[in-house]
């Protein structure tokens, strides 16, 4: 990085036109500030005012004394902690198996983890309702018919805190898996070889070398899983409410019911925000120490540990685990889509096209929701990628003074949970001068803000692979910075940009927690439509739309993986 030229010496050689670099960059900084600072300011302002506008701490006093707020706070904490622990317990061994052993078909395991990664969590939660509702759930029905148990005996009850933790873990463990597997992929084999040469046995090496090297990534994964579980809206709304308890996200959302209490919603959002910022700082500190594992020159590929007789057993165990987030829920959705009643087993005799017909030809809200989703997905992906490219360029090349600030601003939204951002944007844009509520713009702002951090991180990684001397050559020959960016860097970055674009697009389709606060009837998106259908119990229609969503998602992911040299990119969040 230090080879990059400072920006000033190039200026005298400029021949054509004005260099728009700086105004453009300052413009971006300003836009980012507005995106982030405006909603957060209103959030803080509302949290310390009462309905009439005078300053008060009563919202916080109520938040920390009223049991209807304290209970959800405790529940959220328990759910998030348990989910994080389970995710680590499952993802760490699996990540190790895939990255470090001669597990057969490890590519398939990675693909299935990606599949659970891109499955919208709310869809997974609904599918698990079909599978494991205590009485009507398919798994419980199978259990009863196998054992001849009484009608109300069940082995699974998804409407419980355990059920919620389970479903959240199903769709959160990939975050830990990716961090652990990536870290193991990068850990040099030589260190382990050295241990072996010095007489360390295989398991001794694993215990003393490999595990300590990967521990920071695992801890970071635990934190990310905790954050995900804490800020998720869909799964608790679908599973916790029938069980008779709230989490913080569902509680915040319920505060918008008539008569709306935005002050309390703002106050209830702040603990989530503060905790997220705190945990991300902790993650940064832990990951900051990870540098020691890759000191020095180039290392060989990591050495694979032979599993011998355990190879196939391990593979089958991995598949069994992946049945839970992938095979079983998909089968349940398929069953619900074609059977007359969602939890009746599908046979050739009772199969019906009613749900498909209903969604395609009768459900009048579907076409508008689909249109909105496509517009928002395309616009968010395009704008988000553009902003991310430019900021990634500036920070990777350290092109202007203050590049650190831009980098910080681009990653800052990661600390704002979706529902908190939703509340903040709602408070900011339902009032003059920017009345954007009721337009697609407010959703666009929300989605771009949410997508920006991961897009920025992906593209920054892509920039690191392109040596700056190519751009320097272009600039020496008289091109402005923007021109060399356009003619030299852009073509080299093409695959990275396309991949980022696709991932943002897929991300928009599965976003629910901000959209649920910001939508109006004219600006409904598919995820909100599915949520509505769930509230009225129309499982068949959900299954059809959900399968459609999954097909689009997999088409996009598959296409991205076909881009040459870009097989390694996975979702980050």
């Amino acid at each position: 990085m230090t080879i990059a030229l400072p920006s000033t010496p190039a200026s005298p050689q400029r021949k054509y036109g004005v260099d728009f670099t700086k105004p453009v960059l300052y413009g971006f900084a300003a836009v980012l500030c507005v995106l982030i600072v405006l909603p957060l300011s209103w959030l803080f302002f509302y949290s310390v005012t009462d309905g009439k506008g005078s300053v008060t701490l009563s919202n916080f006093i109520r938040l920390f004394t009223d049991p209807t707020f304290l209970d959800p706070l405790m529940t959220t904490f328990i759910v998030a902690t348990c989910s994080a622990v389970i995710c680590c317990a499952v993802a760490a061994p699996m990540g190790w198996l895939v990255a470090r052993t001669d597990l057969p078909y490890s590519g398939i395991i990675r693909a299935l983890v990606t599949a659970s990664f891109v499955t919208p969590p709310f869809l997974g939660a609904i599918a698990w309702e079909v599978l494991a509702a205590p009485n009507s759930g398919l798994l419980n029905k199978i259990f009863r018919s196998l054992t001849g148990a009484e009608a109300d005996v069940h082995i699974f009850n998804i409407y419980s805190m355990e059920g919620l933790i389970f479903v959240i873990s199903c769709y959160t463990f990939p975050y830990v898996f990716v961090l652990v597997a990536n870290s193991l992929d990068r850990t040099p084999g030589e260190l382990e070889d050295a241990s072996s040469i010095l007489g360390g046995g295989r398991w001794y090496t694993a215990r003393r070398i490999t595990i300590p090297l990967v521990l920071p990534a695992l801890l970071a994964g635990a934190l990310v899983a905790f954050l995900q579980a804490m800020t998720l809206f869909g799964s608790p709304a679908i599973l916790a409410l029938p069980a008779g308890f709230h989490t913080m996200t569902t509680k915040i959302w319920s505060l918008f019911q008539y008569p709306p209490k935005p002050e309390l919603a703002a106050a209830a959002s702040l603990p989530l925000l503060v905790l997220t910022v705190f945990l991300l700082r902790a993650e940064h500190m832990i990951l900051g120490r990870r540098g020691y594992s890759v000191v020095g020159g180039k290392y060989g590929a990591p050495r694979l540990i032979p599993l011998h007789n355990w190879r196939w057993a391990a593979f089958i165990i991995c598949l069994l685990v992946l049945m839970l987030p992938v095979f079983l829920p998909y089968a349940a959705l398929f069953n619900a889509a074609f059977s007359p009643v969602a939890t009746t087993f599908l046979t050739f005799k009772n199969a019906t096209m009613h749900n498909i017909y209903f969604v395609l030809f009768e459900l009048s809200a579907a076409s508008l929701a689909l249109k909105n989703t496509v517009i928002l997905g395309t616009a968010t992906a395009t704008i988000g990628t553009m902003i991310a490219v430019i900021i990634a360029y500036v920070t990777a090349r350290q092109a202007v003074r203050g590049w650190r600030v831009l980098g910080f601003l681009a990653t800052a939204p990661i600390a704002i949970p979706g529902i908190v951002l939703g509340v903040g944007l709602f408070l900011s844009y339902t009032r003059p001068p920017f009345v954007l509520y009721g337009t697609l713009w407010i959703l666009l702002i929300a989605f771009v803000t949410i997508a920006l951090p991961s897009a920025y991180q992906q593209l920054q990684a892509a920039f690191r692979t392109i040596h700056p001397e190519l751009e320097d050559a272009s600039r020496i020959l008289g091109a402005t910075r923007l021109r060399s960016l356009w003619q030299i860097t852009a073509p080299l970055l093409r695959t990275g940009v396309i991949a980022t674009w696709c991932f943002i697009f897929v991300g928009v389709m599965r976003e629910l927690s901000a959209a649920i606060i910001l939508f109006t009837s004219e600006t409904k998106v598919i995820s909100v439509l599915i949520y509505d259908l769930n509230e009225s119990g129309d499982l068949g229609a959900i299954a059809v739309i959900g399968i459609g969503m999954l097909i689009i998602t997999f088409a996009v992911v598959f296409a991205v993986n076909r881009i040459p040299g870009f097989g390694q990119v996975r979702f980050r969040n």
């Binding site: 008779g244 008539y258 008569p259 009048s364 004219e522």
Partner: protein
């Protein structure tokens, strides 16, 4: 838009033969027929949005029947629980978004509030003036009762024998029903707002406190509880859309309805046209057609609900409304107590 001249108003009042009434309520509009001019104007608009709390399948069927009759006017159904529809419209109007053409809620109190806010357009279709009892529409024409809903019990006949099924609210407190009941939410559904209010008024809040100890599964919509007992997820439906239990039973699913001894909660479901409707003519055409005999018969035959239209023909299989012991509806009381009902309910049932 159809604005009313003073002459229209007088004509309307004269037609009703109620001059004294005309003095008291000067805005009483004349009843209006579906004229070619209205159809023409509606077709020019080409679409309308219908916010409703009725079951999605029925709402879409109603929309499609309308579209078939008046081709070129697309109906977009926005379905949610009545309380949620109320919240949505309030939120949208607070931000000056006037997207709703016609609304159908299950909570009369909503129309009182919207009327008071001056958001509704007075509009009385001809058939309503002729065939609806006076108690089924606002004399000034701001809202019309479209359907009469009841919230009875329901049960899964595979899981519970007819003779064992609960007969009264009191029976539901029997420990044998613990963990076997499903119930909808008054902060989501207007039907359930009515049923919760009426149950609490007639049996006391104490009753609901006891019911909450029975480990009741809590869903949102009154249209969801009938589906849950049809799935067999719970044996007993404590409240919800009675019409869906009948529909599901007629579709061959193992469910049946129970009218509780203490009385069955009642919710009349009014519709209204918004004054600032983006498609004012299509809105009026739809409101007019929805209360015609044709649409009301779809309500009876397909949706299995009770119609206020005196010329609809009853389809056998449903108990006559007159033969059911009903609880008393009280929109004025809900108007002042809705917030309290929601608050107490969420304290008792924890969500």
């Amino acid at each position: 838009m159809t604005f009313l001249s003073k002459r229209d108003v007088l004509k309307g009042a004269a037609a009703l033969g109620l001059s004294a009434f005309a003095v008291r309520v000067s805005a009483a509009p004349a009843a209006e027929a579906i004229t070619p001019a209205l159809i023409e104007a509606a077709k020019k608009e080409g679409k309308l949005s219908f916010y409703t709390a009725m079951d999605l399948q029925f709402a879409e069927r109603l929309g499609k029947t309308f579209e078939a009759k008046y081709p070129g006017i697309a109906v977009r159904v926005e379905r949610s629980g009545a309380e949620r529809v109320f919240q949505r419209i309030g939120q949208e109007y607070a931000s000056n978004i006037h997207a709703c053409d016609v609304v159908n809620t299950a909570d009369q109190a909503h129309c009182i509030i919207w009327k008071r806010n001056g958001w509704l357009a007075p509009y009385i279709p001809e058939e309503v003036a002729k065939h609806f009892d006076r108690r089924f529409y606002d004399p000034e024409g701001h809202s019309i009762t479209t359907r009469i809903l009841i919230s009875p019990f329901g049960y899964n006949t595979d899981q519970v024998k007819k003779e064992d099924a609960p007969k009264s609210f009191k029976d539901l407190l029997d420990p044998k029903w613990k963990g076997k009941m499903v119930k909808a939410h008054p902060a989501y559904s207007g039907t359930i707002m009515n049923s919760t209010f009426q149950t609490a008024r007639d049996l006391g809040w104490d009753y609901l406190v006891k019911l909450a100890t029975q480990n009741v599964m809590q869903v949102q919509s009154a249209t969801d509880t009938p589906k849950r007992i049809a799935l067999g997820e719970r044996a007993i439906m404590v409240d919800g859309a009675g019409y869906l239990v009948i529909r599901n039973k007629e579709a061959g699913q193992p469910v049946d309805i129970i009218y509780p001894e203490e009385g069955t909660p009642l919710a009349t479901s009014p519709s209204a046209v918004f004054k600032d409707a983006p498609n004012p003519n299509a809105a009026r055409l739809f409101q007019n057609w929805m209360h015609s005999r044709e649409a009301q018969q779809v309500l009876v035959d397909f949706a299995r609900q009770y119609s206020p239209h005196d010329q609809t023909v009853e389809k056998p299989g449903v108990r006559k409304l007159a033969d059911i012991k009903l609880m008393k509806e009280d929109p004025e009381a809900i108007l002042t107590q809705a917030e309290d009902v929601k608050k107490r309910y969420s304290e008792i049932f924890k969500v």
